[in-house]
């Protein structure tokens, strides 16, 4: 079960590294969330959350929106934009 969650997070990391998803996708997976749950937590409509999982759109987000995600995921704004190393 734990390995299942790990595998999911690892998958997310690879997708982000391959440029298919935005770092937000990784952080969401790490917190064991789905777009719907993240939307509720951040107070952002779920269709927007799903849109923000695309890297080209995520990279153009305003700081105010990033802050809301950072708050909901309990990471700093800088961490949110990058992948942790391990």
């Amino acid at each position: 079960m734990v390995s299942d969650i790990r595998a999911r997070i690892e998958e997310a990391r690879e997708a982000v590294l391959a440029g298919k998803k935005s770092p937000l996708y990784y952080h969401m997976a790490r917190r064991q969330m789905t777009p719907a749950i993240l939307a509720r937590a951040a107070g952002i409509a779920s269709f927007r959350v799903k849109r923000h999982l695309r890297p080209e759109i995520f990279s153009r987000l305003k700081t105010s929106v990033l802050d809301r995600y950072a708050n909901a995921l309990a990471v700093t704004r800088e961490e949110l934009k990058t992948l942790p190393n391990s």
């Binding site: 079960m1 734990v2 299942d4 969650i5 917190r31 064991q32 969330m33 789905t34 719907a36 749950i37 509720r40 937590a41 309990a74």
Partner: protein, 344 residues
């Protein structure tokens, strides 16, 4: 077991509990001076249940509950014991935290429903997104709270931010800052009547809910689903679903065998209380049902690990589950008759 001081300087003894909610409830009672065991709370609060919720997903797996919904055990047990208690939820996180602080200041210890993932002291292995974990807050300390978590050996410190995060988590089963405490207890509660009420309520929950997802019918529903799952979902996905079910049986709430052993322990105590041989027999039967569930888990685990491809099939696992359903139905039908005869 460690002694610890609560907010008003009254000693609080921390016990390692078998299941978080019953352990918290029994600790709250004990703090008020009434010594009552976990299985007793479980029985009186009608903790035993079965429900399969395919439409509610947690980490992409459907929820299979082997106990009543979080919060119900405390509420029912407290009501049946004639206790003066408070249960509250909040929309606004800061307000919820403020009231928690005030109640602590008034010298109460408070039970909280929290999310396992966001509790900062949890180890990485145990962290998963489940919003029905119960803990007790003992007192406020600088920058946080002193917390007694029945799944951990000793009281721990918890940061205020972390606790707020854990109490308000969006998603399925949002605890919404669920908070409960006992104001005062009745000195000589009518234990026998409370037990009878608890038994009758459990019978109704297991036998009479007119939906196929709950009670004995729910077990049959899930059993049929398990049998069909490899054809329907493919072997890999079916294994994942089965692993999820096994985790609900054996791991969550650390009850073991879907809380059936704990319910058996309740009947053991009740048999002494009423001096009834029938209840003692029921206790043995429940233990046997628990064994049956355990057998199912073992079979399921062997399927997932592909130990014996010929002998251990999904059909066998489903069959074991159907057997559980039959035995539980017989059990609760018998309990109905026995409970009717008991005198308060």
């Amino acid at each position: 077991m460690t002694a610890e001081l609560a907010a008003n300087g009254k000693p609080f003894v921390h016990h390692h509990g078998a299941h978080c909610e019953t352990a918290v409830t029994s600790a709250l009672f004990r703090y008020q001076g009434m010594d009552i065991s976990e299985p007793m709370i479980f029985g009186i609060g009608s903790g035993i249940f079965f429900g399969h919720l395919p439409f509610l997903k947690m980490t992409n797996l459907p929820i299979t509950a082997f106990r009543a919904k979080p919060g119900a055990v405390f509420r029912k047990a407290a009501k049946r014991m004639g206790v003066d208690f408070v249960v509250k939820t909040y929309r606004d996180p800061p307000k919820g935290m403020d009231e928690l602080r005030q109640v602590l200041k008034s010298g109460q210890i408070v039970g909280l429903a929290t999310n396992l993932y966001w509790l900062p002291y949890m180890s990485e292995r145990h962290r998963w997104n489940f919003s029905g974990h119960n803990i007790i807050v003992l007192r406020e300390i600088e920058g946080g709270f002193r917390v007694s978590d029945p799944t951990i050996g000793a009281p721990v410190d918890c940061t205020a931010d972390g606790l707020e995060q854990a109490r308000f988590v969006p998603g399925p089963l949002n605890p919404r800052g669920h908070m409960y405490y006992i104001k005062s207890i009745r000195p000589n509660p009518d234990l026998r009547q409370a037990c009878i009420n608890g038994m009758k309520d459990s019978c109704n929950a297991m036998l009479r809910i007119p939906l196929p997802l709950f009670g004995v019918r729910g077990i049959r529903f899930l059993a049929r689903k398990v049998v069909k799952s490899p054809d329907k979902l493919g072997f890999q996905e079916a294994c994942r679903q089965l692993a999820g079910t096994v985790r609900w049986v054996e791991e969550t709430g650390t009850g073991g065998a879907g809380f059936r052993y704990m319910y058996a322990a309740f009947f053991h105590e009740a048999a002494e209380l009423f001096g009834s041989n029938e209840l003692a027999d029921l206790s043995k039967e429940m233990t046997a049902i628990g064994d049956n569930w355990r057998e199912f888990s073992v079979t399921a685990a062997r399927i997932i690990k592909q130990r014996d491809k010929e002998g251990e099939t999904f059909a066998k696992a489903g069959g074991l589950m159907l057997k559980c359903a039959d035995r539980e139905e017989a059990f609760f039908r018998k309990l109905q008759k026995v409970a009717r005869k008991l005198k308060a």
